[in-house]
Symmetry: C2
Subunit: 409 residues, 2 copies
Amino acid sequence: MEAAPIASLIASLAIILVAAKLGGHFAARLGQPPVLGELAGGLILGNLGLLGFPQLDYLKTDPGVDLLAQLGVILLLFQVGLESTVAQMMKVGWSSFLVATFGVIGPFILGWLVGAWLLPDESVYAHVFLGATLTATSVGITARVLKDLGKSQTDEARIILGAAVIDDVQGLVILAVVAGIIASANQGGSLSYAAIGWVLVKATIFLVGALVAGLILSRWIFRIAARLEAAGVLLATGLAFCFVFAWLGGEIGLAPIVGAFAAGLVLEDITYKPFTSRGETSLEHHIEPIASFLVPIFFVVMGVRTNLAAFVQPGVLGLAAALTVAAILGKQVCSFGVLGKGRDRLSIGLGMIPRGEVGLIFASMGLTLKVAGEPVVSGAVFSAIVVMVMVTTLITPPALKWSFSRRAT
Amino acid sequence: MEAAPIASLIASLAIILVAAKLGGHFAARLGQPPVLGELAGGLILGNLGLLGFPQLDYLKTDPGVDLLAQLGVILLLFQVGLESTVAQMMKVGWSSFLVATFGVIGPFILGWLVGAWLLPDESVYAHVFLGATLTATSVGITARVLKDLGKSQTDEARIILGAAVIDDVQGLVILAVVAGIIASANQGGSLSYAAIGWVLVKATIFLVGALVAGLILSRWIFRIAARLEAAGVLLATGLAFCFVFAWLGGEIGLAPIVGAFAAGLVLEDITYKPFTSRGETSLEHHIEPIASFLVPIFFVVMGVRTNLAAFVQPGVLGLAAALTVAAILGKQVCSFGVLGKGRDRLSIGLGMIPRGEVGLIFASMGLTLKVAGEPVVSGAVFSAIVVMVMVTTLITPPALKWSFSRRAT
């Protein structure tokens, strides 16, 4: 009676939510973060075809599910942005900056080398993209693991979190640069310094503009919004602010998620003081249930799109192993960025390992970026990246637990 | 760089959210409920074409926006269902039942007569559907108005709210019956008692089955779910429960919203005691921000789809006026259903007036139901129904305020 799309969508959502929570449960039982379980749950749903049940294969391409998943990842980056302020980013010391920078350079070079070594037939763009995929640290997973271990207030945690924030921005800029280079190469040109320059200028103008103008504009917008006599104005204003930034980011040629992250960074507790001072709860509090609904859809769908059959293609497991080693070793370079004495350099290097959502976002964008008609990240390479993300996510909690307890004794 | 649909969707969402809150603000300034402002905000967005700005006309048909709007209305009915329990429905006395029943019969007959009188060229199905559209009381608006007036704890309020709940179910059954009749007529047959009987049996089996099996199943499901070690399990389980019921309702031939409402009725505080007893907040609390995001999209889109140009078609304003009078007078029959002495019968009749979301849901379904290729509710009739909903929603707060204060003095 109702249009078919909504009936199909709600059935899909029920399946995805159940898979997400069952996956999260088993991940928790194994002491792993929920995101790993959501990926695994999706991986099972998306590969039931191998067992003769291809009925759920439509989830890989369903437009409604895809739309909600993309809305989920935009909200996630907004949330991650909300966790930090522009001022906090300015304050984090040289240690965070150096750790972040070394943590980008190390994996980038190693990832590029792994690509050149194991994928000699692919273009230089594919190798560069592979390097870029390894750069960003997952601030969400890192923060959650540190909190679970009760180490959030240590010097090491502050350096890791600060570096992870800087790393996210650096990684997003690298992504924009690499994607821009590929896009310009795809339009017939080759790797030109002018193109790099223009991408860098655009990215810089947008990010600096978003941060500076956003800081001023946001206070003004929220002060006006607070005068509106309607329920849910704080949430609606925050979401509209996020969506406009994300849309602007997309219009400028960057990814919408870059804009959403910038929107989150710009919003601070003081921005919505006109609301909180009259007793309303914070924006994060309102966003949380919406993210709790939509974000797992993104990770389950990422798992659904992981083709286990691709693993038997020659070279995929080898590539996955090489990428994982590059991802882990590359971040150990971070240790050299830690200034000051008595700091647990090993824990910092280990804490930078998880790639989580940002690695997956990079990988999924690689599927849609094309050079000469071919996606820059093939299905097999995507699967290898997902394995790398799963392994780096998986080893971090036990590794950090071991590393911190090693010093405690 | 990202797929175009998400960029378009987030821009649309930002516009819709701003329209919803600005509309809600001006409605509040005029002492009216937010839903009226959301409709008006959408009405302006959807009719900018009349002023030479047709750029937003795509919102009328955008599939992503439509999907989120439909998700919103499913969540709204789930929320409304959560506000009541099956036991509360059993307990509400004969007064509530009689008020509800009279409140369905009166407007149904008057609406049918108005259709037969003013739309003689349309089929008997269109007239019956028009009658059905007038039956349901909007429990959401009624509850909010009573709360705003500080009258939630009066006998009159309990009778109105109880009747509104029963009314919703009766209205939804009528909708299912009428829609089923139209669907069977559309497949070549005519109005047959067997078809009515089958629709009634299906609707009854689903509703009774959903309520009985749901009460047992839900406690069992939530008890098992509570053992899962993952964050957000209560929300995910509640949403999955709602989506499965909504999907089942759709599969059986009823509207997904009927299933969502039944799912809400079935879930009681005791169902999620395994969660709340360990300190988690209630399901309603988690659903609220998601509904606060998605529900206004439905009402703004309803406004967007209201074609102001249709009002100048001959007969639309006349039909709207006749429907509104039928809607208001029809509910005054409710007074005769109130048992006991000293009860404010006028306030109860006035409190039953608002049609709000349920009337709009009926109307929007009428747009998609077809008899012999023609929608059973034409664009002009839809506009007339929206005017009726707006007027009944608009007059209730001042009418109730006057009625209650009349007795206080």
